[in-house]
């Protein structure tokens, strides 16, 4: 427990240090407007990282999130552009529902057919991405085809804070509740810790996996709508390769690919960390050709810091004699 906290503190500190370093080089980066922008910008990644974290906790991985996002986003855009009179809520719900269904397909294959998650989501990743093209006929949906309220929604401010941030905040709270305080979430940790043992204690593993991937899908659907509305354009290639960014965020946040551990704080910090890098690189005026290499280096550094920490935590055998004395 303590160790976990330490690791997250470490990550939080490195984020602050990073922000300060960038701020030293280009002071605009630490202006209030810029930081609030950074927050807004990190939301989609954060939200996806939250549900991805739940998936990774079960020893799975959802590679299909980005394709799912593109498909639901495209469907939302088509829906909104073809039926401009439709209330926005309907569009949002439709996108989420589509995402949910796509996620449940993954969940069914993984939970009920007991197929390996990486294989299933690798397959659905291609299928969903292909479907975006098929359903849209390969055409773009551009800003002038989308209703005004559709485009405006993500960045509209409520109490001075954008909708995106509000939604992300609600998602973080919900994920925290699920992970810490719901039976569903606790079962996921158990499944991830020892999948073969889960059935011995009566955890309905198939059902849990079904809904975990469903949740990941629904979140991808919601983010699909937000993404399309935010950037005011939908086409086949949106968020191409974003699944790896999401997984990288989780990994940086200390969520173990081996399952069973990981916290909401970790996922959020991991996403923030990547968002800071993504926002800082354009501002610090390093050569664009260096960006990818730097990102790689920073990810490796973060992972190494995590690993070093894990080593310190180590396996320590509890002083059994003390306990025995206590018992006697």
């Amino acid at each position: 427990m303590n160790m976990l906290k330490q690791r997250e503190t470490l990550l939080a500190c490195s984020i602050i240090v990073l922000v300060c370093l960038v701020g030293l080089r280009s002071p605009v980066f630490v202006s209030a407007a810029s930081l609030s922008n950074l927050l807004t910008d990190s939301t989609l990644l954060t939200m996806l990282a939250l549900t991805q974290m739940l998936v990774i906790v079960t020893r799975g991985v959802d590679l299909s999130v980005a394709s799912n996002l593109a498909l639901s986003g495209m469907m939302a855009a088509l829906l909104a552009s073809r039926h401009p009179a439709l209330p926005l809520v309907t569009v949002v719900l439709a996108a989420t529902a589509i995402g949910l269904v796509l996620g449940l397909v993954n969940g069914w294959l993984i939970g009920y057919l007991e197929l390996p998650p990486i294989v299933v989501t690798l397959g659905t990743m291609s299928v969903y991405r292909g479907l975006v093209f098929v359903l849209s006929g390969g055409a773009w949906v551009s800003s002038h085809q989308m209703p005004q309220d559709f485009i405006a929604f993500p960045l509209t401010r409520f109490l001075g804070i954008t909708h995106l941030v509000w939604i992300a905040a609600v998602a973080v709270l919900a994920a925290w509740f699920i992970a810490r305080h719901s039976r569903f979430g606790r079962d996921l940790y158990a499944v991830g810790n020892a999948p073969s043992c889960a059935r011995y204690v009566g955890i309905p593993m198939a059902r849990r996996l079904l809904w975990t991937y469903g949740l990941s899908g629904a979140m991808a659907g919601l983010c699909g709508f937000l993404w399309v509305a935010r950037y005011a354009v939908a086409y086949t290639e949106i968020a191409y390769g974003f699944e790896f960014t999401v997984i990288a965020a989780c990994v940086i946040g200390g969520i173990s690919i081996a399952g069973g551990t990981g916290s909401v704080t970790g996922a959020v910090l991991g996403a923030l960390f990547l968002a800071v890098i993504g926002n800082a690189l354009p501002v610090v005026q390093v050569s664009p050709f260096w960006q990818s290499a730097l990102t790689g280096l920073v990810i490796l550094a973060a992972v190494l810091i995590n690993a070093r920490d894990a080593k310190h935590a180590g396996r320590q055998i509890l002083p059994l004699h003390l306990l025995q004395r206590g018992a006697a």
Binding site: L122, V127, V134, S292, A293, G296
Partner: protein, 339 residues
């Protein structure tokens, strides 16, 4: 050996008889993944042969192998890695960096004959980095290679910027897109040769046996005196080297290097391996299966592209193929009883 055989003479007869092998069960043979793949391959081949004009032309078939040979070359060591419970997402990044190394060497006047060693060395070095990070720091390989893929590709783009390397020697073009006897593509021959080599190593030597043992239970493997980390390190380096070889062939084939060369290949390579029946949980899989998967995928996609089905439909087909091939056996067998 001698003394243990001596022991054996004092055989004490057990209460149980243990057969050497299971009785012959044709049913078990049918249930094998390779059989399934072979059937799929034959079916795809027949359907294409009947429905797609030009498919059965031997020259076309030969040309069709160019589309997958380099990827399949990387799939071979990747199969070993996955059997060993590791994975390398960074192969396409390594390939790009090796291609850049080739370009640099070529522009600095390294003789054509020495270019292949340059590519192999660069690949091995990248693999070494992955391997050291994984073994020395006990990090999960998927995590490490998600980081290194962007590092390697990033370095390629640092060197190249918005330029490209071109003007590769004829020797490379000959290997990249030349033929033996004007019909058999050299790349394909290289692939078959390496597939045979890998199959022998994995299935007929003690190295292979140990790789399976590590994938099956790394802790027990360490307890059985296998230097698990050394095997892992070598496999990462091997994967790097094979990516270097693929870089040599690909660069020869397309005659130019840009940082985005082979973008996204890692997923195609992993798809080949998984479709080939290599268990992502480690410890199971065969080179034969991987080769069959490569050929099946090659046949299907080549047939589709001859029918001018757009690439994006092909991704759907490949995705479905992957899902169907793993789901159907499970559905047929019914739910497995877990231990």
């Amino acid at each position: 050996m001698n003394s243990s055989t001596a022991n054996m003479t004092s055989t004490h007869s057990s209460r149980y008889t243990i057969l050497d092998r299971p009785g012959f069960r044709p049913y078990a043979l049918l249930g094998k993944w390779e059989t399934l793949l072979a059937l799929l391959f034959v079916a795809a081949f027949l359907v294409n042969g009947i429905l797609v004009p030009n498919f059965l032309d031997p020259y076309n078939l030969a040309d069709g192998t160019f589309n997958f040979s380099e990827k399949a070359l990387i799939a071979l060591p990747m199969a070993l890695l996955i059997i060993c419970r590791e994975i390398d997402i960074s192969v396409s990044g390594i390939l790009a960096l090796c291609s850049v190394a080739l370009g640099l060497a070529n522009t600095h006047g390294v003789p054509p004959a020495l270019l292949l060693p340059v590519a192999l060395a660069a690949g091995t070095a990248c693999g070494l980095l992955n391997g050291v990070l994984v073994t020395r720091f006990a990090l999960p390989s998927i995590v490490v290679t998600i980081g290194t893929v962007s590092l390697f590709r990033g370095l390629a783009s640092v060197v190249l910027g918005d330029k490209a390397f071109t003007g590769y020697p004829q020797l490379m073009a000959d290997w990249g897109q030349g033929y033996f006897f004007d019909v058999i593509p050299r790349e394909f021959v290289v692939l078959l040769a390496f597939a045979a080599l890998f199959a022998v190593v994995l299935h007929a030597t003690r190295w292979g046996r140990r790789i399976y043992a590590i994938g099956n239970n790394p802790v027990a493997a360490r307890f059985a005196g296998i230097e698990v980390d050394r095997y892992r390190l070598v496999l990462f380096m091997l994967t790097g080297a094979m990516a270097g070889l693929a870089a040599y062939l690909l660069t020869g084939r397309i005659g130019s290097t840009r940082p985005n060369i082979a973008m996204g290949w890692e997923l195609e390579v992993i798809t080949m391996v998984i479709l080939g029946g290599v268990s992502i949980a480690g410890g199971a899989g065969t080179i034969g299966g991987v080769l069959l998967a490569v050929l099946t995928l090659g046949t299907v996609t080549y047939g589709l592209s001859l029918a001018n089905v757009p690439g994006i439909y092909m991704t759907i087909v490949i995705g479905l193929l992957l899902l169907v091939t793993i789901a159907v056996p499970r559905l047929l067998r019914g739910r497995k009883v877990a231990k």
